[in-house]
């Protein structure tokens, strides 16, 4: 990217442009580009072509680089047997809901902690941050027991998307990120808005949020990734086949399905996110690298 070539990094530009430095730079760049392509793209190639191979071809030694007799039927079988359309729809539905719930509730909370600063705000923040130290596995049993019989209201959330959405709101890391970002917005803007008679909600909506697009993007990415990557929790709280997520669905089917069909299913499951990622990669990258963390 040309725009950041102006900043000085570990090694100076001048050094990289002169004779030996220049040679090393280009040699290293070539090695890294080829190496990274093999390491990160290679397995994906193996996955796409492997799923086209027949059972015998997969077991052959040494493995073949191209499928000799491509079997697109594996992909058709995967799509039909696993009901992938349903699994993908579920996963995107949960991810979208997670984004909405986290954006609304976590942003409001971070705004309150950063700008409105009510009594005991710091205590609440400290209690939230303390949960960062608690691995999800420690809570999985009591959380599960809570979700199948919510205290006071006695509702069972099994197979309900709220069982995924609401626990994700309790995300101290996102609140911390948002609060840090809001902290950097000058106080004068707040008092100016107050003088103009804007309510806190109005200030949040028309002043704070428009300034916070990068961090809101980052939180959305984290929310989607969390749903996408989580396995055990959706496996536990979405027990019926109709409500499963992709990852859980593939796992549930892997037992009695030929492995090339399982891999074909994995390829299909990966396609939508990879496409979404490639379309939004600019926003995702710049969001992750500029908006989020300053060390």
């Amino acid at each position: 990217m040309a725009q950041d070539s102006g900043t000085r990094t570990l090694i100076s530009h001048a050094q990289l442009r002169r004779g030996r430095g220049r040679f090393i730079y280009w040699a290293l760049l070539t090695v890294v580009v080829v190496g990274f392509t093999l390491v990160f793209l290679g397995p994906l190639y193996w996955m796409v072509t492997g799923a086209l191979k027949s059972g015998q071809e997969i077991a052959q030694t040494p493995p073949s680089l191209f499928p000799k007799d491509p079997q697109p039927q594996n992909y058709v079988d995967a799509w039909n047997n696993l009901d992938l359309a349903k699994l993908l729809f579920n996963t995107f539905y949960y991810a979208a809901g997670a984004v909405v719930f986290q954006l609304v509730l976590d942003t409001a909370a971070a705004y309150s902690l950063s700008k409105l600063r009510p009594m005991f705000g710091n205590v609440i923040l400290a209690l939230m941050l303390a949960t960062l130290m608690i691995p999800a596995m420690v809570l999985i049993v009591p959380q599960y027991v809570t979700v199948i019989d919510l205290p006071i209201v006695h509702i069972n959330l099994l197979d309900s998307p709220f069982a995924i959405w609401l626990p994700l709101v309790a995300n101290a890391f996102n609140i911390f990120l948002l609060k840090r970002f809001f902290d950097s917005i000058p106080e004068e803007l707040m008092s100016a808005a107050l003088v103009d008679g804007a309510t806190p909600l109005r200030t949040l909506w028309s002043i704070i949020l428009p300034m916070s697009r990068p961090i809101l993007g980052v939180v959305s990415i984290f929310a989607v990734t969390a749903v996408w990557k989580d396995f055990l929790w959706p496996k536990l709280v979405m027990p019926s086949p109709e409500t499963r997520t992709v990852s859980v669905g593939i796992y549930a089917f892997a037992g009695g399905t030929p492995m090339n069909v399982v891999i074909a299913a994995s390829v299909i499951a990966a396609i939508p996110t990879v496409i979404v990622f490639l379309i939004f990669q600019r926003n995702i990258m710049s969001g992750l690298t500029t908006g989020s963390l300053k060390g």
Partner: protein, 317 residues
């Protein structure tokens, strides 16, 4: 109270505030109202924390001292703890989890940092390399792990890794079938599919290092390694520390890797993790109380880690 409350100031949050409130309006009523507004914004998130985080935390501790049989809950003291500790998989699970944590710190923690330093130096192909590193993060974890299980870690010579090793005339490995290779194999798979996020976060903090620092170091005659040691690492210390903690918490929960790559326990219990043992007790052996006890043990161990870590970082300052 000497301050008199101006009537009508305890409005509900969300109502417009009249402009130019005089100094007398910073009264008790105003304070109460401001606080109510603040808490109104907080309430949604706080309720989620109460129900799904803080309450389960306490409930987990309580459950670990109880036993529920046929709907009847009784206090059983340390019974759950002694039962879980005498599980033959208890010590192997801890050994494996700590081994994984250490390996993941060496590989999964150091590698992304150096990859980020390298990527930060390049002036070409930057976008392409970043996309490559982040691509595996986009795969569903089960997909990525089946890819490793079926193609890379196939113990015969039809497996990708063994084919490469054979082509290089190196000894092939049984991978997941051999107790020694199980953990390294899981760390490799786990690092491959997760490192993208860490690389991007490091890149972000590397870009915030002022260039003058490097220039000054260079003028003082510092070579590349010295510049990394005395400029890059101190400048990114906060992020390095934060990610180290996040990584330790994450690796302690090792679960899906053993479940998929090793069908749970693996060869000679070489893959059983603490998280897997919690899952086994809680959801297969109908022993939610034992699982809760193991969760509490995990929490105590982690608290020990944090305390040691805080001490270490306090000493450095």
């Amino acid at each position: 109270m000497a301050i008199t409350t101006v009537p009508g100031t305890t409005r509900k949050p969300g109502r417009p505030t009249p402009p130019h409130t005089g100094p007398q309006r910073t009264s008790l009523g105003r304070k109460v109202r401001d606080n109510l507004t603040g808490h109104a914004f907080l309430i949604g998130a706080v309720l989620c924390f109460v129900v799904f985080s803080w309450y389960p935390m306490i409930r987990g501790i309580v459950m670990s001292f109880q036993r529920t049989r046929r709907g009847e809950t009784t206090w059983v003291g340390w019974d759950n703890y002694s039962r879980i500790i005498s599980d033959p998989s208890f010590w192997p699970a801890w050994q494996n989890t700590l081994y994984f944590t250490v390996l993941a710190l060496v590989l999964g923690y150091a590698v992304p940092f150096f990859v980020a330093i390298l990527l930060n130096e390049f002036r070409h192909a930057k976008g392409y390399l970043r996309i490559l590193v982040y691509l595996p993060v986009m795969l569903p974890p089960a997909s990525a792990l089946y890819l490793f299980k079926f193609y890379a870690y196939d113990p015969s010579e039809a497996g990708l890794f063994n084919a490469i090793l054979k082509a290089l005339h190196l000894p092939t490995s049984q991978w997941m079938q051999s107790a020694e290779m199980t953990m390294p194999a899981m760390v490799i798979a786990s690092t491959w599919m997760n490192m993208g996020g860490a690389v991007l976060i490091y890149l972000a903090s590397l870009q915030n290092i002022p260039g003058e620092l490097y220039e000054a170091a260079e003028l003082d005659g510092a070579g590349i390694w010295k510049r990394i040691r005395h400029v890059t690492i101190p400048q990114t210390r906060l992020i390095l520390a934060l990610l180290a903690m996040i990584q330790i918490v994450a690796t302690m929960q090792l679960f899906i890797e053993p479940l998929i790559l090793a069908n749970g326990a693996g060869a000679e219990d070489s893959a059983t993790s603490v998280a897997y043992l919690i899952y086994q007790h809680g959801f297969f052996q109908n022993d939610l109380n034992g699982a809760a006890a193991l969760g509490v043990i995990m929490l105590v161990v982690l608290a020990g880690f944090s305390a040691a870590y805080l001490r270490l970082s306090a000493k450095q300052d």
